[in-house]
Symmetry: C2
Subunit: 145 residues, 2 copies
């Protein structure tokens, strides 16, 4: 898990650099893509970044066209951040070689095996999310990195 984690970090770092984004900003773009439209407060909780840092981050991402602020249709007093990620052709292009390599890797497994692996990855992801939450609340928010 740790060897894989290190490589995921280095890989993401490279992808972010090739897109002209800093790594933390890019992670937030990815989290927004996964979670769909959420509030700045929710993004702060998910990333462990302080509220002020998240505001500055959304400003940067909005300028680059990665997200858009809009009023929540179900509660007009709330502002949500809408990911515009999938519109960005350069993002999908950047991930294409890894995507192809992983599809090739997946093709050597049966459907049942892939279900088991996917289920495990999902659960490991939840465990990590809990640990991030614990670390963020015990060590306090950091401003940026």
């Amino acid at each position: 898990m740790r060897g894989l984690g290190d490589r995921m970090i280095l890989y993401q770092d490279r992808i972010a650099a090739s897109l002209g984004l800093n790594n933390n900003d890019f992670i937030s773009v990815d989290i927004l893509r996964e979670k769909g439209p959420i509030t700045a407060g929710e993004l702060s909780k998910l990333t462990g970044l302080a509220t002020g840092s998240v505001t500055a981050l959304i400003d940067r991402l909005e300028k680059l066209g990665y997200v858009r602020r809009q009023n929540d249709p179900s509660d007009r007093r709330k502002v949500i951040i809408v990911p515009l990620y999938e519109n960005k052709q350069e993002v999908s292009n950047a991930y294409l070689p890894l995507h192809s390599a992983l599809v090739k890797l997946a093709s050597s497994y049966t459907v049942e095996e892939l279900e088991l692996i996917t289920q495990f990855l999902g659960k490991a992801s939840t465990v990590l999310g809990e640990q991030i939450h614990i670390l963020s609340s015990t060590t306090g928010n950091k401003s940026s990195s």
Copy 2:
């Protein structure tokens, strides 16, 4: 995979911060732990960092007691970097809660299932390593982040 990757990055970032290390330095410590003693040139290749950045990085890590430079016993002209990672009690302490949570998660799988998952994670890790290598050679080395 991407959701897991994002969380691994955020988690590692938190752990590094709690140890007073910057994230890139910490990844190198982890790579050294995995690969055992290697030369600065090999570390440069594995991380995709430029040679000058790796020299500065080793200086920082040596000062903090995470690594030690020594002559390669099998070739006295070569200097290798020896990880002192496992000596650091605070590192194992930092990982302990995640480790326990993952052991608990693993206990819900059979030995055969865990073998399959471990094998997949290893292969995915190799795929990522190849992609990092490709990205580093096409976009050039970066100095730091």
